[in-house]
């Protein structure tokens, strides 16, 4: 019998004490992490495999999840990265010509707990008004002392360097060896679609660990350097700014996305801050200040570079190129003299709209000039 009533009761306990009831889709160990919500309507596989979601329990506002299963092609990394998932309705079956298997068993195999039948809208509204916070997914109807203990032991996201955790430990390459351009990508939690897009732009990418010294990169004489997206607090990736400054000052074109963007900011004197509930979804309007054009962008970040359209305190060398139309936060910057560009949103999408994809070809142009 698949009626939800027959399934095992579970809960999500938030650090402010709010308790949400649901059903556990499969057996899994309790999970504790920061609870965030994303409004992406499609692309759950990409979300769950995005390393930027490391250390987070993701609430899907889209109510029906699992409908098209999972496949071999749409992963953004080697497997699920999230700590836990909260949904309203988990589909027991799937249908899609590319679907290889069902979402539930795939997650269960990875040991990721899924709490279903939750009033996810209530939860989302709660996180929106109270801010994201830590939470624990546990078994049973009422919160247990164990769960509370786990919650208390869970570190805050602020000050947490997760990029170093998810980064590749050894370098690897992506794309054909004969490609005309060579990019070195710092892996803070890189999404595969970024690599796919570089490849389609005719690039060979060497992905290096996040703590690779700049000299090791410069030695390779890359055409450009890429600073990847990734999880955690940018300010905690303390070794990155010096590296980035060193490379930038050599005049090598640099592109940063998401965490990479925040690190560029830190490198040139800006500070970062934690947003109350972040930007996660595929519908965020961003204005390109140079043209006035509005891009509908894919986003996934809890931290942002402090500042506004008027400027970036502490970083006079940087200028704002993009802003978010919902809340006015900084969405893109460039260095006034050096070929350094970065965006807070995800031009590689996956999941999300492709409006910002031309950024990759723009970066290629910069490589040509460099």
């Amino acid at each position: 019998m698949t009626v939800a009533a027959e399934r095992r009761q579970g809960f999500l306990l938030l650090e402010d004490g709010t308790l949400f009831h649901g059903r556990l889709v499969a057996e899994a160990a309790p999970a504790v992490a920061e609870v965030v919500f994303t409004t992406n309507m499609s692309g759950y596989q990409e979300v769950f495999t995005d390393p930027s979601y490391r250390g987070q329990i993701v609430v899907m506002t889209a109510p029906m999840i699992g409908n098209y299963g999972v496949n071999d092609e749409d992963g953004e990394s080697g497997g699920p990265q999230v700590s836990g998932i909260v949904v309203r309705d988990m589909s027991r079956s799937y249908s899609n010509w590319r679907g290889d298997r069902d979402l539930s068993s795939w997650l269960a195999e990875a040991g990721i707990p899924v709490l279903s039948d939750v009033d996810t809208r209530q939860l989302t509204r709660h996180l929106r008004s109270s801010g994201v916070m830590r939470g624990v997914i546990g078994v049973g109807h009422a919160a247990t002392d164990d769960a509370r203990a786990m919650l208390d032991a869970c570190p805050s996201m602020i000050g947490l360097d997760l990029a170093s955790v998810v980064s590749a430990k050894t370098e690897y390459s992506w794309g054909g060896p004969t490609a005309s351009k060579h990019i070195v990508a710092y892996d803070f939690g890189i999404k595969r679609n970024i690599l796919r897009l570089f490849e389609s732009e005719g690039c060979r990418v060497t992905v290096v660990p996040s703590n690779t010294p700049p000299e090791a990169v410069l030695e390779r004489e890359p055409d450009g350097v890429f600073l990847a997206n990734g999880p955690g607090d940018p300010a905690a990736v303390t070794y990155a700014p010096a590296t980035i400054r060193t490379i930038a000052q050599k005049g090598i074109p640099i592109l940063g996305i998401c965490l990479g963007h925040q690190l560029v900011g830190l490198s040139f004197g800006a500070s970062t801050e934690k947003l109350p509930y972040g930007h996660r979804g595929g519908n965020h309007p961003v204005r390109e200040l140079a043209t006035g054009k509005v891009l509908i962008t894919s986003q996934n970040h809890g931290f942002a570079v402090s500042g506004s359209e008027q400027g970036i305190p502490g970083a006079p060398e940087l200028e704002v190129t993009h802003i978010n139309l919902n809340d006015g936060t900084i969405e893109g910057m460039r260095h006034r003299e050096l070929p350094v560009f970065c965006v807070q949103y995800h031009p590689e999408a996956a999941p999300g709209p492709h409006d910002a994809r031309p950024l990759f070809s723009e970066f290629m142009t910069a490589l040509g000039e460099g």
Binding site: A5, N40, S42, G43, R88, W97, R121, G282, V294, H354
Partner: protein, 1084 residues
């Protein structure tokens, strides 16, 4: 960029009457557009012939022309008003076609009118199949492998290329009108020829069949700075082959991965750019091969549409409103999102719920019409439901259809599901052909043990959807097998969308008992907000839907509130008129300071616009759903008398549950419906009724009919729109009626009335505050007795009724309103025969004529009624005296006969019209002519008339024929009639009847030699002849009348058309005349 300051006056074209494929959604979009433009300070001029719309109410536009939506009349309006711009994208295909014609004729250039929203070139490319295919090729998108035919000869060679089945789509037609799927050569020829005739450009596109492919739609908007957003994705439950208007559809798309969705999104952005919609919206349809994901662009509509109305309601993103703002120069990022107020409109709505739209059909009205669903739209209305899951939304959507299903449940009888038996074989056969009942046949198939894969193979419906359905069946079985019901069990079932009635059936209980138990358990729905952003931003717009979830977002405000029950899905007999009344009531009560709460399930309406009422509950109109909202809101009361039968049917249940019904009491409503009790009242008042009886068996009926005397009018009790009502001339026909049209039993009594042959009929609408009754208007029907009042043309004020009879009708109306204790609206239907006034029917509620009367007299009667229902007197409201306007208003009905081609277009006591138009002028002839033109029955100014009438009508037709002869028309008639007329000095040429050989009348019609057909039924033996003639007239778009009185009116109209140039005048000017007349009367 701010709004354009070079424009001052903007013309908006409406969509005209409600027809299949073009319904009330354009009232919604037109109203939104007009409001959006006026709030920017523009002067708005409007043309629309449909009086039953909010958009044509005097205060929506600065100048409102209730005139035919044709290039000629639009030109007259342009010449008179000199607008700077024309917004053609708000009135469906009709408006677009008129705008294109105005552009082609050079009218726009001559008067310096700019097309805004979509340029002529963009419209051309989108609408012309060949140009569209070329455009798609340029941007690397596939279109169905189709080719254009301009003739049958060309089509023949194309068929060799496409093979069968082949899809035929005529260019520039509405709702796929004239198109279809051909499975063999014979059907192919038939459909191609029909399509060529239907297309204004004599073009059809012939495509390879994509039957069984998945079908999707995207709603896209673009501003002049080239910013593009996708408002909504829609996935069709029914795969390709069923018109999207006839499909169950789901938003957002359910079975697309992000990769596939983004490919589609990229394609949509490319399409709107390539077609060149510069500032506005469009709808793009895609087909996707379920085996490999191959994607094909089916079509694109460069305007607001039924789908965009649905998408607006599904997301909270007001496409028409935003479209109007884009058309006048704003960019998307300059327009605020109305719902959140804090974020801009340049974003893409995200849904944290699932929306299901279910089509509503009217095949029971068109017995001969094929119920098979194809690429030509046949549904007449739709319900929309919102739930947190597909399962919940589907069950709500199906019960919101008001077709007797409490959710996804099989019919009581096999026939209800269009089945003769439920063997696997017969189910397989049924499932292979899409019909309105297929969704229920699927359930029977699952119950009978057919596997999901088998059902998928036959129907091509996606397995995911089928498995969702299977989950519902499993849940039913689980619930039915429980030994004891725990609260959690009930909660789980409610979360799957099951209604109390369904739960009761699973357990063999009554609905009341199931509800009682649920309430005892404290299980109630909560209400969630539709906020465009899935909760990411705060929102205070109370657009709500129910779900059995945890958090409620609909707090009571503490203000004095009133619930107005809407009219549910459009259907024949209950259309936009009722929505009009509900909206008027809402507006009036808002103004009086009440908190207005609207409940409705119809996405095609103004009432379900989130800013019409203070609070909108998008919910099915069932007792359960309404009681839950009442429980939550605790209103002063509920208004049931404006939404037609839908709310009326709930009155009893609401009353029993202790809910206050505002206005006329449930008791009075019941008396009016109860023959015996009503007869007693009429007798007491000395008001005559036709002899009548009630029968509970066939024998009973025969006895009653014999006593009353034939002809009699028979019909089941408690029906809407004259459902299954027939005039029966003898006993064998009566017995046949019970075999074919209606059942009779103790539970289902049949009403039998004497039929007043050759009587003429009138409708009176009035409003009462319980003390005073004021007549709204007296409308004389043009058609004789026996034609349903909703199908008859009518005229206000009456033009050929004795004053004394009119006075008697008014007196009777006042007396009946008082006797019934009416507070609010009342409608009385009268027949006058041999100087005696009979009451045929009394409806103590708002009738479908209210919008027409309101426009004719310049008083919004539904607003007056709403205020009276809340305790004001007519004196307080300022409506104390009948207004007889110093001009003539004619209402004409509009029929779906071109869609149901198998159907005989004869009028009868069963209502079949889908919409109405209004003609206003200073003479009857001219007003009638305008109404005919608006109803797409343009009368000829000269030419040849073919008369074929039954013997009884010969004397009546004589003076009419004489007048036509005197005007210079050539007359043809069948042999007998020709001799009869010629003998009376009217030269008439004889022509053979169809069965008499050739050439005959049918040949003349088909050759285009006839400009007007006057045909009354010749009796049974000639039925087929007549039918063919009328069919040919419709096919050839020849004007026709099927009653003598209409022929006479047509004669008046043609005389008027010939004697004076066409002219237009705005509703505001007409109403000014009413005011002046009123003042003059007061001074007397």
């Amino acid at each position: 960029m701010p709004r354009r300051s070079d424009l001052h006056k903007i013309l908006v074209i409406g969509s005209g009457p409600i027809v299949i494929g073009q319904a009330a959604e354009f009232d919604y979009s037109g109203t939104q557009a007009a409001r959006a433009l006026r709030e920017e300070g523009y002067e708005v001029v409007l043309i629309n012939s449909n009086p039953a719309t909010i958009m044509t109410d005097g205060e929506i536009a600065d100048r409102t022309y209730i005139e035919p939506v044709t290039p000629e009349y639009a030109e007259l309006v342009i010449a008179r008003e000199r607008p700077d711009a024309l917004l053609p994208t708000m009135g469906g295909q009709t408006a677009l076609n008129v705008a294109m014609e105005l552009s082609a004729r050079g009218v726009l250039a001559r008067y310096g009118v700019e097309l805004i929203g979509a340029k002529a070139r963009a419209i051309e490319v989108a609408e012309d199949r060949q140009e569209f295919a070329a455009a798609m090729q340029r941007i690397g998108l596939k279109v169905p492998q189709g080719r254009i035919a301009h003739s049958w000869e060309e089509a023949q060679s194309i068929a060799e290329f496409t093979g069968y089945p082949a899809i035929i789509r005529p260019s520039f037609t509405l709702g796929g009108s004239g198109g279809g799927i051909a499975y063999n050569r014979e059907e192919y020829e038939d459909i191609v020829r029909r399509g060529l005739a239907a297309s204004p450009s004599s073009q059809v596109l012939i495509e390879r069949s994509l039957l069984g492919w998945k079908e999707f739609e995207l709603e896209v908007m673009r501003d002049h700075a080239d910013n593009v957003v996708i408002v909504c994705s829609i996935e069709n439950f029914d795969p390709m082959g069923v018109h999207t208007g006839d499909s169950i559809t789901v938003a957002p798309a359910m079975t697309l991965t992000d990769r596939e969705y983004q490919i589609m999104r990229d394609a949509a952005c490319a399409v709107i750019r390539e077609i060149g919609v510069e500032a506005g919206g469009c709808n793009i349809q895609f087909a996707v091969n379920p085996l490999d994901g191959e994607m094909i662009v089916i079509e694109m509509n460069p305007r607001v549409s039924r789908s965009s109305a649905l998408a607006s309601k599904a997301t909270g993103f007001p496409i028409a409103r935003i479209g109007a703002k884009l058309a006048i120069g704003y960019r998307l990022d300059e327009i605020p999102n109305d719902i959140t107020k804090t974020t801009p409109a340049s974003f893409e709505p995200v849904l944290d719920y699932v929306v299901v739209k279910c089509p509503r059909f009217a095949f029971e009205k068109f017995a001969k019409a094929s119920p098979i669903l194809t690429t030509q739209m046949k549904s007449v209305g739709e319900s929309m439901a919102i739930g947190r899951t597909f399962k919940e939304a589907l069950q709500k959507g199906l019960r919101a259809l008001e077709i007797g299903r409490a959710g996804w449940e099989i019919g009581a009888r096999l026939a209800d599901d269009r089945l003769s038996d439920d063997s696997i074989e017969s189910l397989r056969g049924a499932l292979s052909t899409p019909t309105p009942e297929r969704i229920f046949q699927i359930k029977r198939a699952m119950i009978a043990g057919m596997s999901l894969d088998q059902i998928h193979e036959i129907t091509a419906i996606d397995r995911w959807f089928l498995d969702q359905l299977l989950e519902l069946i499993e849940a039913e079985r689980w619930f039915a097998g429980l030994t004891a019901i725990e609260p959690d069990h009930v909660r789980q079932m409610k979360r799957l969308g099951f209604s109390d009635r369904q739960l009761a059936e699973f357990r063999g209980e009554t609905e009341a008992a199931a509800r009682e138990r649920r309430w005892r358990m404290g299980i109630r729905p909560v209400y969630k907000m539709v906020d465009t952003c899935a909760g990411e931003f705060p929102s205070s717009t109370p657009y709500l839907y129910s779900s059995y979830d945890v958090e409620n977002e609909s707090p009571r405000t503490g203000r004095k509130s009133v619930i107005i029950l809407g009219s549910g899905p459009n259907r024949i007999g209950q259309g936009v008129e009722f929505d009009y009344m509900c909206v008027r009531a809402v507006l009036a009560l808002r103004e009086q300071g009440y908190e207005t709460i609207m409940i409705n399930s119809n996405p095609e309406t103004v009432s379900t616009d989130y800013d019409t009422s203070d609070k909108l509950y998008f919910e099915p109109l069932t007792l359960e759903d309404v009681l839950e909202i009442v429980h939550r809101e605790r209103p002063l009361g509920v208004i049931v008398q404006l939404g037609g039968q839908t709310p009326l049917k709930l009155t009893k249940g609401l009353g029993e549950a202790g809910v206050t019904i505002l206005g006329t009491s449930p008791e009075s409503i019941d008396i009016a419906e109860d023959r015996k009790r009503f007869e007693a009242i009429a007798r007491d008042l000395g008001i005559r009724q036709p002899d009548a009886g009630t029968a509970t068996s066939v024998e009973d009926a025969a006895d009653a009919a014999a006593r009353i005397g034939y002809p009699v009018l028979v019909r089941p009790s408690y029906v809407l729109g004259g459902r299954a009502m027939q005039i029966v001339y003898d006993e064998p026909s009566l017995r046949e009626y019970f075999e074919t049209a209606a059942r009779v039993s103790e539970e289902r009594p049949v009403l039998i009335d004497r039929f007043l042959e050759d009587a003429f009929e009138a409708d009176v609408d009035a409003v009462s505050d319980g003390e005073t009754v004021v007549i709204g208007g007296v409308m004389q029907h043009i058609e004789d007795a026996g034609i349903h009042s909703g199908d008859s043309a009518c005229v206000l004020p009456p033009y050929r009724i004795d004053e004394s009879d009119i006075d008697a009708m008014k007196r009777h109306t006042v007396a009946l309103a008082k006797a019934l204790g009416v507070v609010g609206l009342i409608n009385v239907q009268f027949a006058v025969k041999d100087g005696i006034v009979y009451v045929l029917e009394v409806n103590p509620r708002g009738s479908r004529t209210i919008p027409f009367v309101s426009k004719a007299i310049g008083v919004p009667l539904a607003s007056v009624a709403a205020r009276v229902m809340l305790g004001e007197t007519l004196e307080d409201v300022g409506f104390t005296r009948e207004i007889v306007p110093p001009f003539v208003s004619v209402k004409e009905a509009v029929f779906p006969f071109t869609k149901f081609r198998e159907f005989d277009p004869l009028l009868g006591p069963e209502m079949r019209s889908t919409g109405e138009v209004m003609g206003i002028s200073d003479s009857f002839g001219s007003a009638f002519a305008k109404a005919q033109l608006s109803a797409d029955n343009a009368l000829p100014l000269d030419g040849t008339i073919f008369i074929t009438v039954n013997d009884g009508d010969k004397p009546t037709v004589t003076p009419i024929a004489r007048r036509f002869h005197e005007m210079g028309f050539h007359l043809y008639a069948t042999d007998g009639t020709a001799r009869y007329l010629t003998r009376r000095g009217i030269p008439t040429r004889a022509i053979r009847k169809v069965h008499e050989g050739r050439p005959n009348g049918l040949d003349l019609l088909k050759n285009g030699d006839i400009q007007l057909l006057i045909n009354t039924p010749l009796g049974k033996h000639a039925q087929f002849d007549d039918y063919q003639l009328r069919q040919a007239a419709i096919g050839q778009r020849v004007s026709y009348t099927t009653t003598m009185s209409a022929a006479s009116a047509a004669c008046d109209a043609i005389l008027s058309l010939r004697s004076r140039a066409a002219s237009v005048r705005s509703l505001q000017e007409w109403h000014e005349m009413v005011r002046e007349e009123g003042l003059a009367q007061e001074q007397l």
